[in-house]
Each structure stands twice: as C-alpha cells, then as structure tokens.
Amino acid sequence: MEISIWQAFLIGLIYYLGTVGTPWLTLLGSISVVYRPLVGGTLVGLVLGDPVTGCIIGATINLPYLAFISAGGTVPVDPGLAGALGTALAMAAGVQPSVAVTLAVPLGLLGTMIWVAHMTVDVFFVHMADKAAEKGDIDKICFYHVVPPQIFMFLITVIPVMIGAYYGADVVKELITLLEGKPLHVLSVIGGILPALGIAMNLRAIGRKGTMAFFLFGFLIAVYLHLDVLTVALFAGIIAYIYTILLAREGGLENESGSI
C-alpha cells in the first residue's frame, strides 16, 4: 500500500490532535481518546481507506500502553506516536498486527523526545506571559497560552510523522526482513513486559498501606476465576466501599497519613 503525501499529512494531524494539551477536542479528547492507539490507529485506518485493519492493528499496538499514566508532567513512553505512525507503517508494509506492536515499541520511545521538547520550549512562553502580566494585559497572556505553543506543537508533531509515514513504508519493509527471528522476538518480549511499567507507576502513585494486598487480590481473582477487567472492577468498587466504611468505623481514617 502506498501512502500519498496528503494521507501522510493527515496522519501527522491525527498525531497532533492526540498529543496531550492540544485544545481542539478538549484535553480529554487528546490524552484519553486520540492519543490511545485503539482510536488513533482506527483514524489512521480511515485515512488509508481501511478502518477495520487500522482498528485491529491499533488495538494490538495499544496493549503495552494499557495502564499508561502521565502524572506531574512525566511521560515515559508516547502511545500517540506508536499508535498513529505505528499503524500507518504497519498497514503500508502489510505486516501482521503482532509484528506491528513490536515495531511500534521503539516509536513509542522516540515520541518522548517530542514531549520533552514541548514541555521545555513552553517554559519560554510562560516567561513571555509573565511580562504581559506585569502590564496587566490578560488578552496577551491568553494569546501566549494558546497560539505560540500550539504552533510549535503542530510543527514538531506533524512534520516528523508526515516524513515518517511518507518515506517510512519501504524502510519498514526492509527492516522487517532484517529483524526476522531473534530481534523481533526480543522486541515482542519487551512489548510484553511494557504494561508492567504503567501498572507499577499507578501503584506507586497510590502507595498507601494495604495497596499490595488489594493488588494481589485483583491479580489472583483475574488469574484463577478468569474474570475480565470490567467484572473485576465491579467487585473492586463494592469491596472499596465496604473497606472504607469499616475503616471509618474503626477510626482508621484519623491515622491515615499522606492525605493532606
């Protein structure tokens, strides 16, 4: 499959729309929706004329980033780039979803450079806003808050992805034959353990007494009772409710540290 220059541009645009902070679809529409390869991949498929294949590949690429968390401005991997560019290249090169996910892993790592660039350069616009604040010019602050950072973000997201999608397919085809065997196996091992990072980061963020017991409980009922995540979540909600009430009755809330 060939990717035209216009399709490449639209794929870049999908990546831009999914990048955390772009205002067009609300913050939620970026980080929680288009950023996720399940959705981003489907949109890329739509651009390339086959949304179903895009959806299958996107969903597969999404697996390592299931419990992805962005907290306090740190982002260890970039599911957005893995989803948008990863799906595009996989479709263009005609590879299996299981191979696509391993190809997308390095892309997800590269994407963090774009994040760091935007988080760093945006500091510059805050200082310009400071000057406007001295003059009491709030319209200018609003301008600095939206226009320059978004133009910068647009450029650093659309251009690399456009180039990658337009020229990448042939490279990927060659790469696949080169990587055949051991290297692809190694990438798939890494892809398999990647979800552990998101899960552990979430656990660390929770980090209160008793967390590990509940974590192990969730693990064991999923493994041995074969319950899916949604069902476990329903049980978890009830258990959390009862546990909190019992803890409050015991006066345990007063001893709770780290709340405020």
């Binding site: 205002p23 913050l27 939620l28 929706v33 996720r36 399940l38 959705v39 959806c55 969903a59 999404n62 697996l63 299931l66 419990a67 968390i69 962005s70 306090g72 401005g73 740190t74 979803p97 935007h118 760093t120 805050v126 806003a129 400071d130 709030i138 602050i141 600095y144 808050h145 978004q150 196996h185 091992v189 890494i190 398999g192 353990i193 552990a196 990072l197 899960i199 552990a200 980061m201 979430n202 660390r204 963020a205 929770i206 209160r208 974590f215 693990f219 064991l220 999923a222 493994v223 949604l230 979540a233 049980f235 978890a236 258990i239 546990y243 909190t244 809330l253 709770e256 709340s259 405020i260």
Partner: protein
C-alpha cells in the same frame, strides 16, 4: 454562605462559571510546561471572570493575574473542584471580603496534590484501563464499536464528572474548603479510590503483562518445562507478577520512570537473546 457584609454588585452569573469550565476543559494544558505546568491555563480560564470582577481597578486586576501565574498542577477533571472554589473566592474578594493572596494560594497548593492523587487514580489508573480493556477486546477482532464505544464512554463519564466537580467547588466556595479539610470526606474518597484502583491494577497485570520462559530443565532421565511444569504449578502468571513487582521496587528506589524503562528493556533484550524468555 458568607457572613461578611459587602456589596454584591459584582455577581458572577452561572454562565460566567460555566464559560470558565469550558475554557479549562479545552485549554488547560495548551501551554503545559516543566516550570509552572498549568499556571497559564488557570489565568486563561479565569480571563473573562477577572475582567468582570476587577476590570474597573487596574491594580487589583494586575494583582489577580499575578496571583494565578504561580505553579499549579492537578488532575484537571476531578481537580476542577479547586478551580470552582477559587473562582468563588475571587468573587467574594472582589466584593470586599477580606480574602488574602495567601488564602487563595493556600487552597490551590493545599488541595491540588490530594485531588491529583484521587483524580489520577480514578481516571488514568482505573477508568481508562477498564474502558480500554473493553474497547481493545472488541477492536482487536476488527469490531469498530471498540474505539467508538470507548470514546463515547470516556466522554460520557468524564465530562459530567468534571462539570459536577467544577460547579460543586463553586457552590461550596470557601465554606466547602473547611468541610473538606476538617471532615473525613477527602480521606474516605482517597482510600476508596486507591483500594479500587489497586484491585483493578492487579487484574490488569494478570491479563496484560505477558512473560514466559521456554527453558527446559533436565532432571535425571527426562526433562521438565520450567514454565508449564514448575512455574504454572506454583502460581499462574508468576513471571508477569514478578516483573510488575520488580518494576514497582525500582520505582520505589526513586529511580526515574525513563531509567526504569531502560532497565526493563535491557532485561527483555538480554533475556530474549540468551533464550531465558
């Protein structure tokens, strides 16, 4: 709501408060940065309100802008309750109530951490993986309802939550802060959220972290598969559990997420090459 006597001609309408909510919903992270994170997002969402409240007093107007140019970072949907509160405080202040800069700042810095904790646990740690697991299970079979339902549920749940938090914060205003800080409400919500989150994360690690070993062990005459004959007999999915706990251990050693990521990749690469995984 407020006992002090002041002239309340600078009343914010519901429309003003809702407008600020939408400005925040779309633009909160438009200039997200390492130095002050959501600071300019706060000023941006407040712009029409500050103009209305302090438009006739240049000094107060400038002071209000500077007050909100400080570091601010919280989870933007659940944490919107804080924005609602400081909007109510700004309204009272503009009408003569004695609310200091420190009081407004105290509310922001005091509550942003706890609400980031609650919000991130519920939104990124619990709701998102649940909905994704559901959407992916459909999508991976080529069912377009996967991404469509995922998107609809995400917006359908989170936007009403965010709106409710925002309006509640505004209605409670200053008195609400006392309620939240003195009572056990915040602690209860945090404990319930983290309990539910921990259980769901356990289930996720069981279903979505995958690691197995092809190693065969020669015992006497025959050979045993390390995975099927030993590890699986102990605890199913023992290796995924171990790698998750190992990752958590590394993070608890104050290692950066990117460093931990590097270690995991090295582990996978070395293990994959030597035939351990």
């Amino acid at each position: 709501m407020n006992q002090e006597v002041y002239n309340s001609d600078k009343k914010l309408s519901k429309k003003d408060v809702v407008r600020a909510f939408w400005r925040w919903t779309f633009f909160s992270h438009a200039n997200y940065n390492y130095e002050r994170l959501e600071a300019t997002g706060v000023v941006h969402c407040l712009a029409p309100i500050l103009k209305k409240l302090y438009g006739d007093d240049k000094g107060e107007f400038k002071a209000a802008i500077k007050r909100h140019m400080l570091f601010y970072n919280t989870e933007p949907h659940f944490g919107g309750v804080i924005n609602g509160m400081f909007i109510a405080m700004e309204e009272e202040r503009a009408n003569g109530a004695s609310i200091t800069d420190e009081a407004i700042n105290g509310v922001k810095t005091g509550l942003m951490g706890p609400f980031a904790g609650i919000g991130d646990t519920l939104w990124q740690g619990t709701l998102t993986p649940i909905l994704l697991a559901f959407g992916i299970s459909l999508g991976i079979e080529g069912n377009l309802m996967g991404p469509v339902l995922y998107t609809a549920l995400m917006f359908g749940i989170m936007l009403p939550v965010a709106y409710y938090m925002w309006m509640t914060g505004y209605k409670l205003g200053r008195s609400g802060i006392q309620k939240i800080l003195e009572g056990n409400l915040l602690k209860s919500v945090m404990i319930a959220a983290s309990t539910m989150g921990a259980i769901v994360l356990g289930a996720l690690s069981a279903q979505f972290v995958s690691l197995s070993t092809p190693v065969m062990i020669n015992v006497g005459g025959g050979s045993m598969a390390l995975q099927a004959d030993i590890l699986d007999k102990l605890v199913l999915n023992l290796l995924p559990l171990a790698v998750t706990l190992f990752t958590l251990y590394l993070l608890k050693q104050q290692k950066k997420a990117t460093t931990v990521l590097g270690i995991l990749m090295a582990l996978g690469a070395v293990g994959g090459v030597i035939g351990l995984f």
